[in-house]
Amino acid sequence: MPQETNGALRETAHDIHRYIGDNLYFSRPDLEVKGEKFNSALLLTLLTGLRQGKALIIGEPGLGKTTSAEYVCSLLYRVPLGTIWGSEVSGHPEQTEEKIIGRPDLGRLNQGEEVVVWSHFVLLPTKIVDEINRLPETKQSMILDGVDRGNWEYLNDSVINREYCLFATANYQDGGTNTIIAPLIDRFDIMVESKHPGPNLAFHIGMTGANGSGLRNEELERGLHRVLNQRGSYEDRMEQAEELCNQFGEALTRGPGVRTLSRSDRETIRSQMDEIPFDVDANAFLRLVLSELSFCYHYGQRRFHEGCADGCHFTSYLCHTVRNCISNRFPKSARALSQALAWFLGEEQVGLEHLRAILPFTLAHRIQWKEETMARREKESRQDPLPIYMAKEAVREMHRRYIEQAPQLKSALAAACKITDGEALEPTQGDHPIYWEIRRDLGEEVLDR
């Protein structure tokens, strides 16, 4: 893809980011990457949208969790705001499969035909679940496969979304909320907090309000409503919907003056992102992180119900402070989002800094800390909710360990490559779990016997 196209698409993404930040979602920067400051909720929501990811947005009521997701979805996917509102699933205990996913066409059912009327939530590429933790756990299980793969089934019919992104919001736990079940929470790529913007911006919001009216278009919303309610095939309807969305995109360029992305643009962006390689340090660092979150010398790997053995040597590593084993979705999320960030910043490679910025948000909801670990940190002063803060501290710790031994680690990995290729070399011995895991991968028996 020519460099001009690269740059143009990136500029468009920046335009969207700027437009939301200046007009719709007022916030303070709380994340710095390569000298540039961003608001983590806005940036990561945008990147998740670009990447077809899934984001869990937490925060106090009324701080823009849902609206930020709506704005991002509207601008990235050219869907009018009204249509997005109509497709949102709200979390409450009375939700049923028929309300979330689809229902039989009753008229045709009486004629003996099974035809599914799919919900707008299933059909549209932009999916927002509001207050997901108010859904009872059985309902959360219902949407697992759809959330994970975009695969929705009802009766004997199914829809597989061509592209989609999912945003779920959750308030903090209070009376009347459930926990999000572990399989569901693991499917989210990131967890991020929508913070209070501070009194001055909050005053400004109160006085002027966010101007989301520019993202509405009643005519096109009616058109989309008609298309989505049709009984044709999913593919046909999506083609028609896309035409209407493109019209909306043109209206946005004419009206508020913000450029948007077509479906092919988004696909191009995704393939550009996929091509961005990891540099050697980022590669090695991610492996180090994975090792600390999965290693157990005594039991072979971390498991939720197996505590640390007495007198374990590895007490200075994260494996001693976590209860569960990190899932394989984590490296996928880390890769996808860090490539997205590198692309957004115009970098040719994913480096340590990109990874360090992204990792806490991909880890915060996936790590289950031991109680004593949380108890030690809960009273420390911080700017983030405890899970995100602890994830940031964990990444900071691991990064420091990486810096200390980067040359040795890279050397060990290079040696392991040669050994796997058949060379007669000795694998590097080191204290960090990564060295043990490398040796294990090379066929050595290294665990406690």
Binding site: S411, A414, A416, C417, T420, D421
Partner: protein
């Protein structure tokens, strides 16, 4: 099977080496040799589980130490570090003061350098037999207090103790000079056959070993000075 490390195939990582790496590495190798020598000596010596101070045993241990050290390249700093290693015995399986001191003496005696300084004041433990059989031309300076049998069997060398010495200082010395800045313990100069012992502090007692069946208190040559004044030889005293 996919090689999970292929991303690092082209990594030609060569660590930057600085002279410190070489210095430390060489030092570690030397110390390792010295430690191995010591451990082998001790294993032999304590086969009977008890190590008694007898002249023949001491001599045997010393010769065994010399044999182990033969050919090793080391310098006085290595000896000093070896002593520190012995002192923090969590790094060595066992420490027995007698053989340890004999081994150190062997190291000193076989070192290339003529002037060696050790610092017992930095150690928590006492080593005995330091300066054992120190040969002519060598000077050993011990900064701090030393254990028993310091300078025993001295063979022409110069032993300077910048502190106090324990019992049997200079026992059986043949020739040479011992200077003690503070005090000595009991039986100072026991079995002494030559050389001089200068003590600037107090001498708890002078050696009075009978030699043979003559019934006389005898020191076989050599002189003991206390605070600059000649203390022995005194006249033969009949028991």
């Amino acid at each position: 099977m996919k090689n999970p490390f292929q991303d690092f195939r082209s990594v030609q990582y060569r660590k930057r080496e600085i002279p410190l790496d070489r210095i430390v590495r060489e030092k570690e190798e030397t110390l390792e040799l010295l430690v191995q020598g010591y451990l082998q000596l001790v294993e032999e010596e304590v086969r009977d589980l008890v190590w008694l101070v007898e002249e023949s045993k001491v001599e045997k241990a010393y010769n065994a130490a010399i044999k182990r050290i033969d050919g090793s390249q080391y310098d006085p700093d290595d000896i000093d570090e070896f002593c520190a290693l012995l002192d923090s015995s969590d790094k060595l399986p066992y420490l027995i003061s007698g053989p340890a001191g004999i081994y150190i003496s062997a190291l000193v005696n076989c070192a290339r350098e003529d002037h060696i300084v050790l610092s017992p004041k930095d150690y928590e433990r006492s080593f005995h037999f330091l300066g054992y059989k120190l040969p002519e031309g060598k000077t050993l300076v011990l900064q701090g207090d030393v254990g028993d049998f310091a300078g025993s069997g001295l063979f022409g060398g110069r032993l300077i103790v910048e502190g106090s010495a324990g019992n049997w200082c200079g026992a059986g010395m043949m020739k040479g000079e011992i200077r003690v800045a503070n005090n000595t313990g009991q039986n100072t100069g026991e079995w002494m056959r030559g050389g001089e012992i200068h003590v600037d502090g107090t001498i708890q007692s002078v050696g009075t070993k009978f030699y043979g069946n003559t019934g006389y208190r005898v020191l076989f040559g050599g002189k003991i000075y206390q605070k600059g004044k000649l203390l022995v030889p005194r006249a033969l005293v009949k028991e």
